[in-house]
């Protein structure tokens, strides 16, 4: 009886760890994309996650769209929001130091969150999941939405890996990431690359938002913390490799929801911070990064 409880508990924690870790990984993938293509860390990513969720809420909750079109609308709309942020915060500031651009992305974040506040209010709202309900595994309840989250994350990661490894776009991004000026001399269209990268990052943020929103509730600030988790995942993963940040995301989920559930439950949410501080104190390039990569950061 006790063992059965222990197994089902563990499975519950594990499912939470994996699904939360997936969301973290998605968030990290988003701004890793902008970083690779432009060298910018976009602090607006959290606001975009929130905005994606609210766009889906607006169409499905307020205008009674069916779920799937609502999600798709949100993801597509966020692409254009991402492009807009490139035009506003990145393009006019090209050539300035990276700090300046990062600060401008703060500005965007503030604007977006306040607009959400004004239009939708601050009370928590709800977004319907793609599939209601769940199933039991050895006594542990696993909502279908969590399975969907993990599945979508894996598919997205695979798609991004393919994109970076086998397409011209991916090759160009890698070239720009390693030496922007040379890539420009070689004729890589860096301007177009930035636009697409920011747009894709916006979509990834929107995707993360619509996936995690049904698990709880949404309020104007919920994306910020997910973004923070994404930062930690990217740091753990060494800010270079896609696989690294995905592993980083799952590692954070594991630390917080499996290890944290058994030991130090009261300080559970503190554990990822402690992990990160420990890792970057010892190994500044993260667990999987290369030594030279962090020079630019």
């Amino acid at each position: 009886m006790v063992f059965a409880t222990a197994t089902s508990d563990f499975l519950s924690y594990l499912s939470a760890a994996i699904s939360e870790g997936s969301i973290t990984a998605l968030a990290a993938l988003g701004f890793l994309l902008t970083f690779k293509a432009t060298g910018v860390i976009s602090f607006a990513q959290g606001a975009f996650i929130t905005l994606g969720a609210y766009l889906a809420y607006w169409t499905s909750g307020k205008h009674d769209w069916p779920i799937v079109p609502a999600y798709v609308f949100a993801i597509v709309a966020m692409f254009f929001v991402g492009v807009a942020s490139e035009r506003i915060a990145y393009r006019p500031l090209r050539g300035r130091s990276i700090h300046v651009v990062v600060i401008a992305t703060f500005g965007i974040s503030e604007i977006v969150v306040t607009l959400i506040n004004i239009f939708f209010g601050a009370s928590p709202q709800g977004l319907d999941p793609l599939v209601q309900g769940g199933f039991h595994v050895s006594g542990a309840y696993i909502p279908w939405q969590r399975v969907i989250i993990v599945g979508v994350t894996l598919v997205t990661t695979a798609a991004l890996v393919w994109l970076f490894g086998s397409t011209q776009f991916g090759r160009q991004v890698r070239a720009v990431a390693s030496d922007r000026e040379t890539a420009q001399l070689y004729g890589v269209p860096v301007g177009r690359l930035s636009i697409i990268a920011f747009g894709l990052a916006g979509s990834l943020a929107g995707l993360a938002g619509v996936l995690i929103a049904p698990v709880g509730s949404i309020d104007p600030n919920f994306g910020f913390l997910i973004m923070l988790g994404g930062f930690y995942a990217a740091i753990l993963g060494g800010f270079g490799s896609l696989g690294g940040v995905v592993v980083g995301g799952f590692l954070i989920g594991f630390v917080q929801y499996v290890i944290g559930s058994y030991w130090w439950r009261d300080y559970q949410s503190l554990l990822p911070f402690v992990l990160i501080l420990g890792v970057i104190a010892v190994s500044p390039q993260g667990l999987f990064g290369n030594r030279n990569a962090h020079g630019r950061l």
């Binding site: 703060f106 503030e110 969150v113 306040t114 004004i118 930690y232 740091i235 009261d266 950061l297």
Partner: protein, 626 residues
């Protein structure tokens, strides 16, 4: 020449910052008593003073030392909580709370900065975000420390000093003005001391700073500790003024607002903190209490949007902030019309009298008829190997440089010349051994090589664009005593004396290369040729024993190259050993005593400078086999 040099005064003696601060304080008092009406404005005034103090600390952390720290708000809160806890027992004087807050902040920031020592920029920023969260969480959970639940503390004693209790906002105004005044004076001390240029050097180009021998880690840690202490002291004052604390007030949002205040005011000057916090505090209040309604929404709802948009616009149009804008406007208007005393008062640098180009008509250095004899080996590098992945950029190279000689190093592009220099000066990790004047020096540590008297110049002149020419030269000084923050505050007269001596030496070096007239101009305004001379001046001021020059004639025209050669010969005559990497045949031939040739990372030939060009191996290396 001596006369001109002696008349030059270091900026420490220029401008009248203390007078400015005094006038500012007096102005504060006048404005407060004359124009402040109503309780809200009294309270706002005090808020402004408090935030100015916090942002002043942040100015040192971010504006000067370039560290992206979000922890300022958390340390501000931590200072408040520590102060409240320390003064809970009524037998302790309230002043103890402030001291406790400062001590805890010093300790915590020291530990944190030490942990984060190898991280930069973004990673550091995320680390401080984590620190912020940890501090808030610890305070909320540690009920024994806060005597309450959930991080809420109330009933904090009001500030009292010399038997007088400061209860009302009017009373606290006096205390806060005093605190801000002291803070500004301390800031002025630090601004006008070597600390500032060293921190900027470490901020802008950390690798070059290390090759100059600057203690980068120490500087970064100290600046972080300094900024955190300012925040903690302000936090203590805040706690005793507000009488209660809750953790919600010290969130990441406040950290972002501190950022905003620093940037709005301008990161180039300590007054930016004062201006930025003033703007923020008063505009927030205006927005909150305004009755303007847009489309059924009060304008206060749009406050974050307005600030966000302001941030973006400022970054695009005026990244130097309000104080920077002011300075830009003043500089442009500053013609002969501005009276001298005003320009001195504002501390504006003199415009260079001459142009910023090299004056080629000026007589070059006198070359002595007799040159000193070539002596023993002063630098011996054996078996230097540098690997990048699988590639051996430098492969078992032996180089020895003798006292009083000029050694040339030539080779086609990609042969590893720069990498060899990088290896010797400790910029890249390398295998092999290095002896300087008979003492073994460990490879891979830039500081030790510099301390042994080995300087280098770079293919593209590495100088700090923001600093003035003479500041750039001063960075190379060998006299490193009393350059720290603590000395700048406590041992000021001694610091000034050393600065004067350093300044003299730097001025002499600049005069020697013909750049004394542009000493105060920012290094970014010099022409290419003048930049080369600036590098040379740095080497001269640094009392180098060995100088490694990486393609020094690149980009110079014929006349400039001649001048450079003359300067190098003069250096040789003073007993400095030189290793010159270059391509120009005439330059190498006329200058060097001996030439070695590098190809694909290996030493392939050695000989006298005239015959080496005929050597078959050299021809093949450069042009390929026939």
């Amino acid at each position: 020449m001596r006369e001109r040099v002696r008349r030059v005064k270091p900026p420490i003696y220029r401008g009248m910052p203390y007078l400015t601060i005094a006038l500012f304080v007096v102005g504060l008092v006048i404005y407060r008593n004359w124009r402040t009406h109503g309780l809200a404005q009294e309270s706002l005034f005090n808020d402004w003073l408090l935030y100015a103090l916090v942002v002043l600390g942040f100015y040192f952390v971010f504006g000067v030392a370039g560290q992206f720290a979000f922890s300022q708000a958390a340390v501000f809160g931590l200072g408040g909580y520590v102060s409240a806890w320390a003064t809970f027992n009524h037998s302790h004087p309230v002043f103890v709370g402030m001291i406790a807050a400062a001590v805890v902040a010093l300790g915590a920031s020291f530990v944190f900065a030490l942990l984060m020592q190898r991280t930069e920029h973004f990673y550091f920023a995320v680390g401080t975000l984590g620190l912020q969260t940890i501090i808030v969480l610890v305070i909320s959970k540690w009920t024994h420390f806060t005597h309450g639940g959930g991080g809420e503390v109330s009933g904090i004693r009001p500030w009292s000093m010399f038997g007088h209790t400061f209860l009302t906002d009017f009373d606290m105004f006096k205390v806060l003005t005093l605190a801000l005044g002291v803070g500004l004076v301390l800031a002025a001390f630090i601004e006008r001391s070597p600390v500032r240029r060293e921190a900027i050097a470490v901020r802008d180009q950390p690798i070059v700073a290390r090759t100059l021998g600057l203690p980068a880690l120490r500087i970064r840690i100290v600046m972080f500790m300094l900024g955190s202490t300012f925040a903690a002291v302000a936090g203590s004052l805040y706690a005793h003024r507000a009488a209660s604390l809750s953790t919600e007030s010290f969130s990441v949002e406040l950290g972002l607002y501190i950022f905003l205040m620093a940037i709005l005011g301008g990161l180039g000057s300590m007054w930016g903190a004062v201006v930025g916090s003033w703007f923020f505090v008063y505009s927030t209040q205006e927005l909150q209490t305004s009755s303007i309604v847009i489309n059924h929404h009060k304008i206060s709802e749009f406050k974050p949007i307005l600030f966000g948009a302001l941030l973006i616009i400022m970054m695009i149009a005026a990244p130097e902030g309000l104080t920077g804008l002011f300075r830009r406007v003043v500089r442009r208007r500053r013609s002969a019309a501005m009276p001298l005393f005003l320009s001195r008062f504002l501390g504006l640098a003199k415009d260079p009298v001459a142009s910023n180009d090299l004056d080629l008509d000026r007589p070059g250095p006198t070359v002595s008829v007799e040159r000193p004899p070539i002596g023993d080996a002063v630098l011996e590098a054996r078996g230097i190997t540098v690997r990048f992945g699988g590639v051996r950029a430098v492969d078992e190279v032996d180089v020895s440089l003798r006292d009083g000689e000029i050694l040339g190093l030539i080779g086609p592009n990609g042969s590893g010349k720069s990498t060899l220099l990088n290896a010797i000066t400790g910029v890249v990790p390398a295998g092999g051994s290095l002896r300087i004047r008979g003492t073994d020096v460990r490879l891979g540590r830039a500081e030790t090589v510099v301390r042994a008297g080995v300087y280098r110049t770079y293919q593209t002149p590495q100088r700090y664009l923001e600093l003035s020419c003479i500041d750039n030269v001063l960075l190379s000084t060998t006299d490193r005593r009393l350059t720290g923050v603590v000395s700048s505050i406590l041992l000021r007269p001694l610091v000034l004396r050393h600065e004067r001596a350093r300044w003299q030496r730097a001025a002499e070096a600049l005069d020697r290369v013909g750049l004394l007239d542009v000493a105060e101009a920012p290094a970014g305004s010099l022409s290419y040729g003048a930049n080369r001379m600036l590098e040379l001046a740095r080497v001269i001021a640094g009392d180098a024993k060995v100088v490694l020059l990486d393609e020094p004639s690149a980009g110079l025209n014929h006349a400039e190259t001649e001048l450079l050669a003359a300067h190098l010969r003069a250096l040789r005559d003073e007993g400095v050993a030189l290793l010159v990497v270059d391509h120009k045949i005439d330059f190498i031939s006329s200058l060097c005593d001996r030439v070695v040739v590098l190809e694909l990372g290996r030493l392939v030939a050695e000989g006298d400078p005239h015959g080496i060009w005929q050597d078959e191996r050299v021809v093949t290396a450069y042009l390929g086999s026939a």
